[in-house]
């Protein structure tokens, strides 16, 4: 059984339909890259998975549990959504670290707010330190976001998302806001997560990265999935004309 099952998601903002019948599934431990031109709905899809947008149609199922079903209003309540969204983690294009907290505090804040038993907090902090260490940031744990480079900030954001042990970690163009010389360090971290079989969905414009790191690729255009398949196949020998056109720009 697939870890994630997305069925017939539709989303419109006012009269414009941004997602039209999106369906796909993802096996545990696999990395899925989503590519597509600007405005094709990639961000909106990730936001739907993370419940930042409510789809108008369709359903989202993780490990057989239906987290969202547009036909079932009960699954819309704020409290219900709050528990369910923890199945997903999201790393934003613009990091969105909390500026008034240090790197470590950013990583452990949400966990501490969930853990009423304060005697558990040192454990959370230890885990937070381990995560920062995995990101190569052990010596930066006490720094505030404005004291870190973009690449370091994004790595803190990845640690923060991992701290809650999501089933599926989503990235929305994690390197687009970075200077070219800083993208490498972030991509390296994501690559190592892939090597450790973290289930991931990565929206990216880095085609070589998608080809090498992702197991599967989805090409989106105009709110539709135009082509999907094994990463190497879609990127090197695309079947659809639109995919070919899009890839010829890279």
């Amino acid at each position: 059984m697939a870890l994630l099952e997305v069925r017939s998601i539709e989303k419109h903002f006012g009269p414009t339909k941004v997602l039209k019948d999106i369906s796909f599934s993802l096996e545990e431990g696999r990395a899925l890259a989503i590519i597509g031109s600007s405005g094709s709905g990639k961000t909106t899809l990730l936001r739907c998975l993370n419940f930042l947008e409510t789809p108008d149609r369709g359903s989202i199922t993780v490990r057989g549990e239906t987290l969202f079903d547009a036909g079932d209003r009960a699954s819309f309540s704020e409290e219900a959504i709050r528990q369910k969204r923890l199945h997903f983690g999201l790393v934003f294009q613009s990091f969105n670290l909390f500026p008034q907290y240090t790197a470590l505090e950013n990583v452990v804040l949400a966990g501490k707010l969930r853990e009423k038993d304060r005697t558990q907090w040192p454990t959370l902090e230890k885990q937070g330190m381990e995560l920062l260490d995995r990101m190569g940031l052990a010596d930066r744990s006490g720094h505030y976001p404005h004291q870190l480079s973009g690449g370091q900030q994004q790595r803190v954001a990845i640690a923060r998302a991992l701290a809650l042990h999501p089933d599926i970690l989503c990235f929305d163009e994690p390197t687009s806001a970075l200077d070219p010389e800083l993208t490498g360090e972030v991509l390296k971290v994501i690559r190592s997560l892939a090597d450790q079989d973290t289930t991931m969905i990565i929206v990216t414009h880095e085609m070589a990265f998608a080809r090498d790191v992702a197991d599967e690729v989805i090409f989106m255009d105009g709110g539709l999935i135009v082509e999907q398949g094994p990463a190497r196949q879609v990127i090197e020998t695309p079947q659809e004309e639109r995919t070919r056109q899009f890839l010829s720009r890279y």
């Binding site: 993370n50 419940f51 930042l52 704020e78 709050r82 528990q83 969204r85 923890l86 997903f88 983690g89 999201l90 934003f92 613009s94 969105n96 670290l97 909390f98 500026p99 008034q100 804040l109 949400a110 707010l113 969930r114 505030y144 976001p145 404005h146 923060r160 998302a161 809650l164």
Partner: protein, 250 residues
């Protein structure tokens, strides 16, 4: 007793009234401003259903569309803020103190200094709350939505996000414009002189006409300036310290 100590005693008494008006205004207008701010940001649209696609054509349809976007709470609050910020505080003081007497034939305010203080304090609180509300609005809207979204994705409640994430960033943003208003308030308290509230300027001026057995003295009025200088100096220092405290993040 010498002239000097008599004058200082009278000025001190006047300044005590100044301080009273100043602190009551701050204590009242800081929370009331938040309420007004929420009012002006209220998004309640009671007629939003009228914008449905099957709305009639022509003038009725246009009316329906305008009505559908109406936010009555926000509109009324903004109208009120416009009135208060668009007219002089001195005029407002005259109207609130003398107006009811003119309209109803007798003044509802208690006699003497109590009534004058009450009227002045109420008008000052309302006036400054309106200014503060606009500052708050800027502060709230100035915190990027990404902060809220990052909190949501980490499973925090709206409450936790407000208190643990956005509040401090808001405070940091509004502190400089708030400091300006507070310094202005120090000096604006003298406007209550117009309804013969016996603050420090009133006390100084009294020595020209005759007070405590002295008349024709001009220097006590000039000397009141020293009170304002010292007080606003102290306030500036305190607020500067507070701003410094929040300097650790950006």
């Amino acid at each position: 007793m010498g002239v000097f100590s008599v004058v200082i005693g009278a000025l001190n008494q006047g300044f005590l009234q100044t301080l009273k008006l100043f602190s009551v205004t701050l204590l009242g207008s800081i929370p009331l401003g938040l309420l007004i701010c929420f009012g002006s940001m209220n998004r309640w649209m009671p007629f939003h259903r009228l914008s449905a696609a099957d709305a009639p054509r022509g003038i009725v349809g246009r009316l329906c569309r305008i009505l559908s976007r109406l936010r009555p709470v926000s509109l009324l609050t903004r109208f009120f803020v416009w009135i208060i910020r668009g007219t002089p505080l001195m005029l407002q003081l005259i109207i609130i103190y003398y107006g009811p007497g003119v309209v109803m034939g007798h003044s509802p305010w208690p006699g003497g200094e109590t009534g004058r203080f009450l009227a002045a304090a109420i008008m000052f609180v309302i006036n400054y709350a309106c200014y503060f509300s606009e500052i708050y609005r800027g502060g709230i809207q100035g915190v990027p939505v990404g902060q809220q979204e990052a909190g949501l994705v980490l499973g925090m409640t709206k409450r936790q996000i407000f208190f643990k994430v956005t509040l401090l960033q808001m405070v940091k943003r509004i502190l400089p414009p708030m400091s300006n208003e507070v310094i202005t308030l120090v000096k604006d308290t003298s406007l209550a002189r117009i309804i013969t509230f016996q603050e420090v300027i009133w006390a100084g001026q009294a020595f020209m006409k005759g007070s405590h057995g002295y008349s024709g003295l001009l220097w006590p009025l000039f000397f009141t300036g020293v009170y304002y200088l010292v007080f606003s100096g102290v306030i500036t220092l305190l607020l500067g310290k507070l701003e410094k405290k929040l300097d650790y993040f950006r």
